[in-house]
Amino acid sequence: MGTWEFYTEVLIPVLNRGLLLSIKIIIPSAILAVLLGILTGAGRAAGPSWLKKPLDLYVAIFRGTPLVVQLTMWYFGLTSATRWLQPLFEPMGLPAWTWMMFTMRPFTAAIFSFALCGAAYHSEYIRGALLSVKKGQFLAAQSLGFTKLQTFLYITAPVALRRAVPGCGNELIYLIKYSSLAILVTLKELTGSSKHIASLYFRHLECYFLTALYYLAMVTIATWLLNRLERFLTLPGLGRYDA
C-alpha cells in the first residue's frame, strides 16, 4: 500500500469516524458541565450555608483528583463494585441485571466523568464572577424591593455570566483535549482510533501528527465560536474593550 492510499483509504476515514465519536462525547459533556457548573457555582457563591458545604466538598474531590483516576473509577471501579452488589441482591431473588444496572457503558462513563469534573472547574469561574459583582448592585436592587432570587436572576447573574465567559471558555477548550482520555475506557474516539491504526501499520509519526491537527482544528473552531459569543455578550462598559 502506497503512502497516499494509506492516508485516503485507511487513516483519514478511521480518524473521521473517531472524530465523530469524539464530538459525540464532547458536546453533551460540555453542555452538562456548563449547566452543572452554573448551578454549583451559584450555590456556592449565593446559596444557603447548608448547600455550600456539600458543594464545596464535591468541588474539592473532583478538582483534587486526576481525571484519569475518576474516569477509570466510574467505568472499571463500578463494574468491580457489582461483586459486592451481587450477594446483596441475589438473596432477594432479583435477576442479574439488577446489579448490572450499577455499571456504566464506556460512552456513559466518559460523558459522566467529563461533565462532573468539568462542572467542578466551571463552578469556580462562575463563583468568582458572581463574587466580582459590586455590592452596590445588590444594594440598589434590594432598595427597589427586589427579593434575593429576583436580584440574582435579573441583576447579578447577567453581569456575572458575561464575566465568566472567558474562564468557562477556557475550560471548554480543555475538555476538547481531555476527551482523548476516553481511550482508557476502550472507546475508539479520535485518539483511540489513531492509536489503533498507528500500532497496526506501525506509522506512529503520521498518525499522531494528523491527530494533533484534528484537535487543533477543533480547538480553533471552538475558540472562534467563543470569541463570537464574547463579542455578542459585550455591552458598553461590560466586557471586551475592542468590541
Binding site: G136, A140, S143, G145, L235, G237, L238
Partner: protein, 261 residues
C-alpha cells in the same frame, strides 16, 4: 384659612415616617447609638456630620438594607419589624434610595434601569413600565438617553437616571446618600436642580449632603450627627446663624473654609 387647612390644623397628622431608637454595631464597633428622628409628609430634612458619624449606616438601617440591632422604623403607621421577609421587600419599595456612587445596573440601558423594577417587582406590563420609565427619564431631562448604557453617561446623568429609577416605584420617601459627592463640580448643579424640583413637588426626603448652601434654602430642619448620635437638630436659620455657637455651625464653617463656599 380654608376648611381643609382647619381640619389639618386641628388634627395633628402622625409623621409619615418615624425612626425610633435605632442602634447598630458593625464589626464590634457601635456605629449608631440610639438615633431617633421623624419625617412629616412633604418634609425635607438634611443630615450632616463628619465622615464616620454613621449617616450612611443610618440610611441603610432605615431602609432595612442593614438590619438594626435595636429600634424600629415606622412607615405609614406600620412597623418594619412586624413584617415578614416578603413584606420587607414591599416595605423597601416604598422607600427610594439614591446612592453616592449611583449604583446603576451596568448591564441595562437607562430605560431598562428605570423600567426593570416596575416590571419585575410591581409586575407592570412591559409597555406600561416603559411608558412610565420614559416619563420619569423625561422629568429628569434625559429623553435623549434612553438607549445609553451607564458607561456611556456622565456622572450627573447617571445620578439623574438613578433618581428616575427610584421615582418610578412611586416611593413615599426618598433617602439620598450624598447624591452629589462623587460628581465633578460642574455636574453638581444638574442633580441639585432635579432634587430641588422633587422637594418643591412635595416629595418627603431625608438627604445626607455636604452642600450646605443648597440645603439651607430647601430644608426646614438640619440634623447634625456625630459619633453615631444625633447631636443637634433644628432649623438652618437657628443652627447656621453666624452668631450661633452650635456644633453644626462650626462644622459647616470648616466645610466652607475647605470648599470656599
Amino acid at each position: 384659612m380654608t376648611f381643609d387647612q382647619l381640619l389639618t390644623a386641628t388634627e395633628p397628622t402622625p409623621p409619615l415616617m418615624e425612626v425610633r431608637n435605632i442602634s447598630k454595631s458593625l464589626g464590634g464597633k457601635l456605629i449608631l447609638d440610639d438615633v431617633s428622628l421623624s419625617l412629616n409628609r412633604g418634609q425635607l430634612k438634611v443630615l450632616i456630620g463628619p465622615s464616620g458619624s454613621g449617616k450612611s449606616t443610618l440610611l441603610q438601617c432605615i431602609h432595612f438594607l442593614l438590619q438594626p440591632d435595636r429600634g424600629d422604623v415606622i412607615l405609614d403607621g406600620k412597623s418594619a419589624w412586624e413584617m415578614s421577609h416578603f413584606n420587607i421587600c414591599s416595605f423597601r419599595q416604598k422607600i427610594g434610595m439614591i446612592f453616592q456612587d449611583f449604583n446603576l445596573f451596568d448591564h441595562l440601558t437607562a430605560l431598562d434601569n428605570v423600567a426593570i423594577a416596575p416590571r419585575k417587582v410591581k409586575g407592570l406590563r412591559r409597555t406600561e413600565a416603559y411608558q412610565r420609565a420614559k416619563e420619569e427619564l423625561a422629568r429628569v431631562g434625559l429623553s435623549d438617553k434612553f438607549d445609553h448604557y451607564p458607561a456611556q453617561l456622565s456622572g450627573g446623568q447617571k445620578q439623574r437616571v438613578s433618581i428616575a429609577r427610584a421615582m418610578a416605584m412611586d416611593p413615599k420617601i426618598m433617602l439620598l446618600d450624598e447624591p452629589t459627592s462623587a460628581l465633578d463640580p460642574e455636574l453638581i448643579g444638574e442633580v441639585l436642580n432635579v432634587i430641588a424640583v422633587l422637594a418643591k413637588g412635595g416629595m418627603t426626603m431625608l438627604m445626607v449632603t455636604h452642600q450646605i448652601g443648597f440645603a439651607r434654602h430647601l430644608t426646614d430642619e438640619i440634623i447634625f450627627m456625630e459619633a453615631g448620635r444625633v447631636v443637634e437638630q433644628g432649623s438652618p436659620k437657628f443652627l447656621l446663624d453666624d452668631n450661633s455657637e452650635s456644633r453644626t455651625a462650626l462644622f459647616c464653617s470648616h466645610l466652607t473654609e475647605l470648599t470656599g463656599r
